[in-house]
Symmetry: C2
Subunit: 365 residues, 2 copies
């Protein structure tokens, strides 16, 4: 594998002590100014992780987030550049890609406490350690990931890679989750193009379920479950959306959502840091291409959740196979899919859209 050059960020601190990182395109050099806002360190108690004994899953209880910024007017966007250091989370006249610690973090303070694993059947809570970061994709308030030019989109992918490597190396972080929620229909409260990164101090329920299945699969079949799924999807072909040398995008056989696309590398890798330069270019192009197709389904920006499944190079996660997952709740031009009782209470998904017809639509666009 060819090692790629990781961009080196300019690091500073916001007025309340949170970290802020500027990642520049070649030839650019960000010039941060001091954050002059009268911010103090968060006065709220940290969040709690609570163990749900009925399912064996952790729930993050974070009442401090109730006060978070909610749909500010465009001229007070906290993600636009703030050249005076008084109006924005990003005190600079301009930027390419920026990462900072979320002011309304549901997880914070990673590194100082390992998760207490002893359950013994009692109600358990531990401090909500971990990391919540915001990634601003561009200083253009009205852009989107899909509208970034090629080097800029690649820079965002490099930033995800940088943050993944950094956070996975910290004590107490089990899983690094890079994602983008887009659209008011998904509950997004800031429209400026941005994503988030969670460094969870536990393995999330979905990841745990997939690793359990992959482990059982290896024990039975001797191979990697995800490898075989990608091979089967390529062989069948009816759900494949696009394929390059390095990556395959398809609608999964048992898609839960009216819009759902997964993107896998054609060879096994656990996370972005195991991909080389050519593969990262390839991934950037296919990922951006899928997002562009999605916006053409209804000739309008599609509300979506776009997420990276990444795994650590550990025994417990050895069979985890990197992939991106993009889903939308839009089930027609005028209607949304709601997660009602079957999904929200019982976890039983009902999908009104056939995966094969979605794939055919996306291939055409």
């Amino acid at each position: 594998m060819i090692p790629t050059t990781t961009p080196t960020p300019i690091r500073c601190r916001l007025a309340d002590g949170r970290e802020l990182l500027f990642f520049d395109l070649p030839g650019h050099r960000s010039a941060p100014v001091p954050d002059r806002r009268p911010l103090r360190p968060d006065p709220h108690p940290p969040s709690q992780l609570r163990y749900d004994r009925t399912t064996g899953e952790w729930v993050i209880v974070a009442p401090a987030r109730q006060d978070r910024t909610y749909k500010p007017p465009a001229d007070r966007c906290p993600l636009c550049p703030g050249p005076t250091g008084q109006t924005s989370e990003i005190p600079a006249a301009a930027y390419d890609v920026v990462v900072f610690e979320n002011r309304f973090a549901s997880l914070s303070g990673a590194g100082d406490t390992a998760l207490w694993e002893d359950t013994a059947g009692q109600p358990l809570s531990v401090p909500g350690r971990g990391r919540c970061e915001v990634v601003c994709f561009t200083s253009d308030h009205t852009g989107s990931f899909a509208s970034l030019d090629r080097p800029h989109a690649r820079l965002v992918v490099d930033v995800w890679r940088h943050r993944t490597r950094d956070l996975l190396s910290r004590t107490g972080i089990e899983q690094v989750f890079c994602f983008e929620n887009r659209g008011e229909e998904i509950g997004v409260t800031l429209t400026h193009p941005h994503g988030q990164i969670y460094g969870y101090p536990f393995t999330t329920p979905r990841t745990a379920a997939m690793l359990r299945r992959a482990g059982a699969y290896r024990a039975a079949a001797g191979t990697n479950m995800f490898d075989d799924i990608v091979r089967d999807e390529v062989r069948d072909g009816t759900r494949v959306v696009a394929r390059t040398d390095g990556f395959t995008a398809f609608v999964p056989y048992a898609a839960r959502w009216p819009v759902e696309v997964h993107i896998y590398p054609n060879r096994f890798a656990r996370n972005l840091s195991e991909l080389d330069d050519t593969e990262l270019d390839d991934f950037t192009e296919l990922y951006r291409g899928v997002l562009r197709r999605l916006d053409r389904i209804y000739d309008a920006p599609l509300p979506y959740m776009a997420a990276l499944h990444q795994y650590a190079d550990t025994d417990a996660q050895r069979d985890g196979y990197f992939h991106a997952q993009v889903i939308s709740t839009r089930r027609s031009a005028a209607k949304l899919k709601y997660l009602a009782s079957s999904e929200s209470v019982m976890g039983a998904f009902i999908n009104d859209v056939s995966p094969e017809s979605l794939a055919a639509t996306l291939r055409r666009l």
Copy 2:
């Protein structure tokens, strides 16, 4: 246990062959007329169950449901009584409680095929057998479960009990799920007070997870996990909302939702059919009381999902403990909780409301 009298319904068929059952209050006697609508048996292919190999969960793929009735005007409500037999799903001048097979069913044709269990690592689909029923709580278009009088609310509980017993006795139905989705915010497309019943041909993911945990708990502690949870909640008290001789309502320790209340019987029972007359009265009162409190949180009808966790009297489900779960996505008077990437992709819930403060609010109301 004192056996209770199960109400005997009047059974008829709709024009397309679907079953329709009238349950009457004492002294009432429904008088159905023929369904004169030009309905034909559903021309769509049945739904499919698809096995998600990455999680080991079944997904219901039901494209025929895309055309289902969507927010009709009040004067064309299909759940209001239709005395002419030409305007409604319920051809009668009046009714108390009615059950009929859903016209846009995601599961249908229970009893003729057992679920094919052999996976062998291949993509699997089986016909979407099962049962989807609609339960009309009252002929009053503007009512709600909380506004039903005591005997009427009890009749609805008796109907759930009747349907649970009937459907659990059928071949191929593994789990009976009675629930109510209320409010446009939950995606409800018909405002007439009604609930639904799903007879699933598989054990739902959430139920499977709880049974797994309960089995492991019994192996370790020798007792029923849910029994111990109820005991611990009563002892702690800070999350208890209300308690009667027969039942306890509390906010769970690791609540996932900004509003979440669970109601357990104070003694072990698997489903409604194992409760006696006094207990059913008790449950009805406490359940209705909780729903009334919920509507007072914001002085407005709360959008909610209300659901019964029921288990069959089988070895696999022996530790399943009956309980009701009511949840809402409303996190403040003006804001909703959305399930974005952390919840929808990773299953990691973030709750912005402290369970103890919710319980204190509900106790006061």
